[in-house]
């Protein structure tokens, strides 16, 4: 039997309308429905981020983005089922909710490419904004420097509308980019600022025959549509994965320190003393995959700090290298996902990283990325076309998505 796709449904979607500036009928997002994950705070809603460690935790305040979406008149449907703390996609129901038409859009934490991968699986659009574009206040995260809020929608125009509402400075999150923030009010199909699309040769070498066929076909189509296609190279490409794994695990290990079972969440039934209580509570609270991730993070923190420092240095080098490529091309294209669709087993950390190897570079570099369906196909399989741009080129990237959707099939 299939579990319910929602872990929580808003019992009275109109009730919260009372604190909106605009009623849901009037706002720019009037009539648009959004599903979120229980890792995004909505006052009064359960926010357990899919983990026993936060079992029963109810958000005290609205996240900044939720406050803005409510004011814009969006309808918040409820929360989808998510993997524990958003690590991996095991049990995630966002794709199902979208393809069953139960919500126009969905928001989910994109730590290594989750929003893009899900969208590619169900033939939808997804967008991962630049770091510092969307406030993280109220987002229950795992690896802050890697993650941001991703948006999934069937129509790219919906993503543009939601970004226009959610993006922008927030005095509750000082990591926002301030005056240079991207704008979304000029995103149109007539914006043709992206002319030269590059592709890296290194990831292509890891793809299957069918995937290469689909991606080459996609590049041909883009060329016929008037884009210039250029092959580029980033010899350190395979380091994106190791850097993400090391830094992501270390940050996760730190962020999860606060789940002690004292103030909320599961607490062990019997313990001899507080130390014992912490140990048992944490042992009972986390699933195997998260535990493995936290152990790896703790290993780098406590036993191999030098490796973590190296990862930070390599990350800076990768950001520089990718910026170097953006001097040659306006954007970079990748397939979004590889062909295999599988549920990652709890022990399979490498399998988890295999699934996200094409999407996580954008998270490591903090640059925007968009997933476009219907272009990178082979027979019935749609691997998804992923295009990433320089940091803060969120507007032009979404213009490109709108343009490609109009040229579409």
């Amino acid at each position: 039997m299939q579990t319910d796709a929602f872990t929580y449904l808003d019992p009275s979607p109109s009730v919260w309308g009372h604190d909106s500036v605009m009623s849901p009928e009037q706002g720019p997002l009037a009539g648009k429905s959004l599903t979120i994950q229980p890792s995004l705070s909505v006052r009064g809603w359960p926010a357990d981020a899919g983990s026993v460690a936060l079992k029963g935790f109810v958000a005290l305040e609205d996240a900044t983005v939720i406050e803005r979406l409510k004011k814009a008149g969006a309808t918040l449907v409820g929360t989808s089922r998510m993997s524990e703390l958003g690590l991996g996609l095991a049990g995630d129901t966002t794709g199902r909710i979208l393809s069953e038409g139960r919500s126009d859009m969905a928001l989910m934490t994109d730590m290594m490419g989750e929003a893009r991968i899900i969208a590619a699986r169900v033939g939808a659009f997804a967008f991962k904004p630049s770091n510092g574009t969307v406030s993280r206040f109220g987002l229950i995260g795992l690896a802050p420097s890697m993650e941001c809020l991703g948006i999934l929608a069937r129509a790219p125009e919906d993503i543009v509308a939601v970004m226009g509402i959610m993006a922008g400075d927030d005095d509750r999150d000082f990591s926002m980019c301030g005056s240079e923030a991207p704008r979304f009010d000029h995103v149109t199909e007539s914006d043709d600022s992206i002319k030269v699309i590059g592709f890296m040769k290194e990831p292509i070498e890891t793809l299957s025959e069918a995937e290469v066929r689909a991606f080459r076909g996609c590049l041909d189509r883009l060329e016929k549509s008037g884009f210039r296609i250029r092959e580029v190279s980033l010899p350190d490409y395979d380091l994106f994965r190791s850097v993400h794994h090391c830094i992501g695990a270390v940050e996760a290990s730190s962020s999860c320190g606060k789940y002690d079972g004292v103030r909320y969440g599961h607490r062990t039934a019997a313990a001899k003393n507080w130390n014992d209580m912490y140990l048992k509570t944490r042992a009972e609270s986390f699933g195997a995959l998260v535990k493995a991730y936290l152990f790896q993070g703790a290993y780098f923190q406590f036993e191999n700090y030098g490796a973590f420092e190296n990862a930070c240095r390599i990350r800076a080098r990768l950001v520089k290298a990718i910026n170097g490529l953006f001097a040659e091309v306006d954007a970079l294209a990748f397939p979004t996902r590889s062909g295999s669709i599988r549920e990652v087993s709890a022990e399979d950390m490498e399998g988890l990283y295999d699934d996200f190897v094409l999407t996580l570079p954008a998270n490591v570099a903090g640059v925007p990325a968009v997933q476009i369906p219907g272009y990178c196909t082979d027979g019935n399989a749609d691997y998804g076309l992923q295009i990433i741009g320089p940091r803060l080129s969120d507007g032009p990237l979404l213009s490109l998505a709108v343009r490609l959707s109009k040229m579409g099939t």
């Binding site: 958000a59 229950i140 000082f174 606060k258 004292v262 103030r263 923190q301 930070c312």
Partner: protein
């Protein structure tokens, strides 16, 4: 082989900002437990730390006042450890890129010669929650008070330049003076707004090696700091003499036993860069703005007091060591009181009386205006020194002006020559022995006679005139 001590200090000082370091909660530790809390300082899921500009300014002023160089770029790290006073599992601190480096303070060494002690670095840090251990019936319980969680601190780390308890105590006194001048922290070891840890090691005198150190904590006064260092030096020296190795560990000062006691191994966790709080980049313009906010510090002020008011070095130091005293002094002098009279009366009369009455400059009724009024009466010979002391006591008790008090209670000095001559004649007649002594060259007999005359006038006579008349008649 003779050994010498090598001592470095780590000082935590609470900044007196209005709010905590990463949220808008009031920075008031003593309130009802857990009153000053919010999702950020309780470290609830989804909260984002929001670094406050006030904490940065006060920390930077503190660092500048201690002659440090503010770094153009500094950043917060997560100091990872697990303990119930830190339920988020890490403390935000600046381990890798501190706010400031390379400062110094001058002290007077044991030989009286000036000694410059270097400061290695100053960084910002949030305080952790406070644990309160109680009994619930027969069950021991531990309560957590988050009022202190997130309170802004600076940690000052010195170079190991100190060689004796004297050096360490003088350094803390000098540090406290500087910071109180800046007005950025109360710096009270007694109340816990300043916490001092000492790192102590021993080495053969004359070498420059750095040996294994022992950290000593839990001293809650400057005297305890000195006592703990004395104890630790003799303990380590005894170990060395006995050929026992010194092991790196932490000890607690036990004021009851007057000894340091080994503490269970303290867990030192790693520090990773915090991914939520942005790096702090300061501009030259901002640094200049902060420099402009720095008050005149005690060293320079003492020099100026000597130059401008003709005070001796000792007087200038006494009037400049505390900012509120120095400001009071200048307020009195600006009311046309002779600077040395002001110095003498502040140091010898005003401050002791204020201490007795447990008053500070903010709450004493003896304002600079009233005090200057009193000293002006003294300088114009309207009252004598005895009367001035009594008028001062009344200034503490009432709101009246010194002039009113003098008139109402009859403190006005008698300078009428006829009246005084009468008194002198009586005294001479009553004390023939003293008169004889004086004539035979016993100079102190004069003092006795003046005293007798003052007494006869009930203290109101002008002692200068009495002395003149006496000299004339003898």
């Amino acid at each position: 082989m003779e050994h010498e001590a090598v001592i470095g200090l780590e000082i935590h000082a609470e900044l007196n900002c209005a709010t905590k370091m990463f949220c808008d909660c009031p920075n008031r530790i003593g309130d009802e437990p857990n009153l000053n809390t919010c999702p950020i300082c309780l470290w609830f899921p989804g909260s984002v730390p929001k670094f406050t500009a006030d904490a940065l300014e006060k920390a930077a002023l503190t660092a500048m006042g201690l002659n440090c160089t503010i770094q153009d770029r500094s950043a917060f790290d997560q100091k990872v450890y697990y303990y119930p006073d830190l339920p988020k599992g890490f403390q935000l601190s600046q381990a890798h890129l501190p706010l400031a480096r390379n400062g110094w303070l001058d002290i007077a060494g044991e030989d009286g010669q000036p000694r410059r002690l270097r400061i290695h670095k100053i960084h910002m840090e949030e305080d952790v929650a406070k644990l309160v251990h109680e009994m619930e019936g027969r069950t021991p319980i531990s309560l957590v008070d988050f009022n202190r969680a997130g309170v802004p601190l600076v940690e000052i780390v010195t170079e190991p330049d100190m060689r004796s308890p004297h050096d360490a105590m003088e350094f803390i006194r000098a540090l406290r003076t500087q910071i109180r001048y800046l007005g950025t922290s109360e710096c009270s070891m007694e109340s816990g707004s300043m916490r001092v840890d000492a790192n102590i090691s021993m080495r053969p005198r004359g070498t420059d090696q750095l040996n294994t150190k022992v950290e000593v904590k839990n001293m809650n006064s400057i005297r305890h700091l000195g006592d703990a260092i004395v104890y630790e030096i003799s303990r380590q020296t005894a170990s060395l003499v006995a050929g026992e190795p010194i092991v790196l560990h932490t000890r607690l000062w036990d004021p009851e036993k007057r000894a340091t006691v080994a503490m269970r191994g303290k867990f030192e966790g790693p520090c990773i860069p915090d991914p939520m709080v942005p790096q702090i980049v300061v501009t030259e313009a901002w640094k200049n703005e902060m420099l402009a906010k720095l008050p005149e510090m005690p060293g320079r002020k003492a020099d100026r007091f000597g130059r401008q008011y003709g005070l001796t070095r000792e007087e200038a130091l006494a009037m400049s060591a505390e900012r509120d005293v120095s400001e009071y002094f200048e307020a009195v002098v600006n009311r046309q009181v002779a600077p040395r009279t002001a110095t003498h009366w502040i140091a010898a009369q005003l401050l002791p009386t204020m201490r007795e009455r447990n008053q500070s400059f903010t709450d004493t009724p003896v304002t600079p205006a009233r005090f200057a009024g009193l000293l002006t009466l003294l300088e114009r010979d309207a009252i004598n020194a005895n009367a001035a002391r009594e008028v001062l006591a009344r200034l503490f008790e009432s709101e009246q002006t010194p002039e009113t008090i003098v008139e109402r209670y009859g403190y006005r000095q008698v300078s009428n020559a006829d009246q005084l001559e009468g008194i002198v004649d009586q005294v001479l007649a009553a004390n023939p022995a003293a008169v004889n002594d004086y004539r035979n060259g016993v100079a102190k007999a004069m003092g006795f006679l003046v005293g007798q005359a003052m007494q006869a006038s009930k203290g109101k006579a002008n002692p200068k005139l009495i002395r003149e008349i006496l000299t004339g008649k003898l």
